[in-house]
């Protein structure tokens, strides 16, 4: 068993809402509300969910790009939340992030050479005299040509810009890379190229990925394990195969059934959810999905379900629902 690289325990991120008299805090957005999971070295774990479920906030809180409200984040045994700003900055070289829009995350006034140089300068990973060689090596690794080294971000296409973002993340030799919708903005033909590149880099450099995405096709292709989030909480966590072929939570089931299928002959049993995702400011009591769940009962309104595994489920497959056995056996039928 590879070692635990990242261990997140009861992570909470509550953003204050200012307003009212003298701009006092009047309420909180509970963007992430008690999330726990672990990632092993060399593994790809994905977080999926719809907008506002807290998947990106989780990624940012782990890196302390936004200071989390509570919980514990252990990276390679070190408690990240106990670090000072300075210690945190030193440790960030082990954990990098790639964002959705490389155009917004690359400085438009810097050439690729300057962008990569700056990253290495700050983290002091490569001595000055070796940097040029390292930059050339990085360019080759991500599939860019040496002639593009002095170009500015706007001179690249979307896919190439994302490669620059990947090169920057790799420049400091990280162990963990958080990919926040890293391929979502790319056209499908380019998206496939970047996904293949990420997989190749993982094999060669033994990288660990936390992959945040709303695209379930991409997630199925790239992940080892998948976390499904809904309104700031994990509703299901399982290895990829188990999650896609044997989903247990009613939300996961409807999410999977909602993906448009490219086979025009495929039989569709679409579970269409009623209504929208409720506001995370005042999330529903009990199970947060009960307002949209076709199986919800009184108990779901009052009691918060915990993640659990039942005998018939694969080891490591956990679901937060009161009625997984009843739904699985057909004892309970949808009521709406």
């Amino acid at each position: 068993m590879p070692k635990e690289l990242l261990k997140v325990t009861n992570l909470k991120q509550h953003f204050p809402i200012k307003g009212g008299f003298l701009g006092r805090t009047i309420n909180h957005v509970k963007a992430v509300d008690g999330v726990s999971f672990t990632i092993h070295e060399g593994e790809t774990v994905s977080i999926v969910g719809e907008s506002g479920c807290g998947k990106s906030t989780t990624g940012r809180a782990i890196l302390r790009l936004d200071e989390p409200t509570g919980g514990e984040v252990k990276f390679d045994g070190k408690n990240l939340l106990s670090f000072s700003k300075r210690e945190m900055r030193q440790n960030r070289k082990d954990m990098q992030v790639i964002f959705q829009d490389p155009y917004a995350s690359l400085n438009p006034r810097q050439t690729v050479r300057q962008i990569l140089n700056e990253a290495m300068e700050i983290q002091k990973v490569v001595p000055k005299k070796d940097r040029n060689d390292r930059i050339l090596e990085l360019m080759e690794t991500v599939g860019l040509g040496a002639h593009q080294i002095d170009r500015f971000p706007h001179e690249f296409s979307g896919g190439q810009r994302q490669r620059v973002g990947i090169a920057r993340a790799l420049s400091v030799n990280p162990q963990l890379i958080i990919c926040d919708e890293a391929v979502s903005a790319l056209d499908v033909s380019i998206q496939a190229q970047v996904i293949n590149l990420l997989k190749k880099l993982q094999r060669e450099l033994n990288l660990t990925y936390l992959f945040i995405s709303h695209d379930l096709g991409v997630v199925r292709h790239i992940s080892d394990r998948v976390i499904v989030m809904y309104l700031g909480k994990i509703v299901e966590i399982a290895d990829k195969k188990s999650l896609f072929t044997n989903p247990q939570h009613p939300y996961t089931k409807s999410l999977l059934s909602a993906i448009p299928n490219t086979d025009p002959d495929a039989k569709r049993e679409r579970i269409i959810l009623s209504g929208d995702v409720p506001s995370p400011i005042d999330p529903p009591t009990g199970c947060r999905f009960h307002t949209r769940c076709p199986f919800a009962t009184e108990k779901c309104v009052t009691d918060v379900p915990e993640l659990r595994n039942e005998d018939y489920m694969k080891e490591g497959h956990q679901t937060a629902c009161h009625y997984i056995e009843e739904i699985e056996s057909g004892l309970m039928q949808p009521t709406r």
Binding site: G158, I190, A192, K199
Partner: protein, 347 residues
């Protein structure tokens, strides 16, 4: 499709449409000779990646091209009348009444300073000359039709008070207020979450049947196309490269680009262990298009003849294909099988 006998069954016929943008004394051909027809009551999808010209095609049909862009040629026959011969006043009567359009981002196409009700009523007042009270009544009916709960309350709310899915429903309500014959939907669900997307697509389908409407759907999402369209036009660099019924496009695609596009999509219903098949290279800039077949530099089958631009040919099933492989002039491998080649390199 546009044979004489069936011409009357088509609500829309686009013939050799050309829309260009003129910048710095350079012409960028965004739409370069697009021809297709939309049978009445059916849904035609236009798919393509960014820069393929799919959105410019739809804006051209609505005559919404602004400087520095210009429609420089072709015909757009809507109910057998050429929209390119209409003046601005006539077009204004057609837009919103006979042809409506919904866009990707409802927040930018709804006016934030007017209530939902005022924006739907506007269509009734302008096109049907209704008075305020009647228009309001009809607007509530319309909100009910698109599945907005408690429409009497929602009608007095502003767009920012609604969720993304609700806003898109309001957009649809405005677009369908005057029961248009043709709805142009430009990436209508791209900004929405999958569970909301499923709701909206279901709604469009349901209303299409109810109102006997024809739909032109512009999208980059092949899954959405497979589920909603009857016919599909695949665009690449301003040209249609393949046009066929939806089954043929997904089960037996002919153009190497269509094949590549479908292969590079990671499937969500099965696992593949090896790398994804990719289309090598990038979409060329519209200012520097290859002079032959636009796809030739990225095509795994490209041969000598591909340096000349192929025509869009119609086969015996009325499907159309723009590729030399399917012509007598083909000079490459005579046994070529577009489904066999799979490039998986990542660079």
């Amino acid at each position: 499709m546009a044979t004489e006998s069936t011409a009357n069954d088509n609500i829309l016929e686009v013939k050799d449409l050309r829309t260009s943008f003129f910048t710095n004394e350079q012409e960028v051909k965004a739409v370069d000779g697009v021809t297709f027809s939309l049978p009445r009551g059916k849904t035609v999808g236009i798919v393509g990646e960014s820069g393929s010209g799919k959105s410019i095609t739809s804006l051209s049909i609505m005559r919404l091209i602004d400087q520095p862009g210009e429609i420089i040629g072709g015909d757009i026959l809507f109910n057998n009348e050429n929209l390119l011969e209409k003046n601005n006043n006539q077009m204004r009567d057609i837009r919103g009444k006979d042809i409506s359009m919904i866009f990707q981002e409802p927040m930018t196409s709804l006016n934030p300073t007017y209530t939902v009700g005022q924006q739907i009523s506007e269509a009734y007042k302008i096109h049907e000359g209704l008075r305020k009270k009647e228009a309001r009544h009809r607007s509530i009916e319309m909100l009910k039709l698109v599945g907005i709960p408690s429409p009497e309350k929602r009608i007095d709310q502003y767009p920012h008070e609604l969720s993304g899915g609700m806003r898109q429903r309001v957009m649809i309500a405005i677009a369908l207020a005057c029961s248009p014959d043709l709805l142009i939907a430009d990436e209508p669900t791209t900004a929405l979450d999958v569970t909301i997307q499923a709701q909206i697509l279901e709604l469009i389908k349901e209303l299409q049947e109810k109102l006997n409407m024809s739909v032109l759907l512009i999208t980059h999402d092949l899954g959405v196309v497979a589920e909603t369209c009857d016919y599909v036009a695949v665009m690449y660099c301003g040209k249609i490269v393949e046009y066929a019924d939806v089954r043929t496009i997904f089960k037996d695609p002919k153009h190497p680009y269509t094949v590549g596009l479908l292969n590079s999509l990671p499937p969500h219903d099965r696992d593949i262990e090896e790398d994804l098949p990719v289309i090598k290279g990038n979409v060329p800039s519209p200012a520097e298009l290859p002079k032959g077949c636009r796809f030739a530099p990225r095509c795994p089958f490209a041969s000598e003849i591909c340096n000349t631009l192929p025509d869009l040919k119609t086969d015996e099933n009325e499907n159309q294909i723009r590729c030399w492989i399917y012509s007598d002039e083909w000079d490459g491998d005579p046994e070529v099988n577009v489904h066999a080649e799979r490039t998986t390199q990542s660079n």
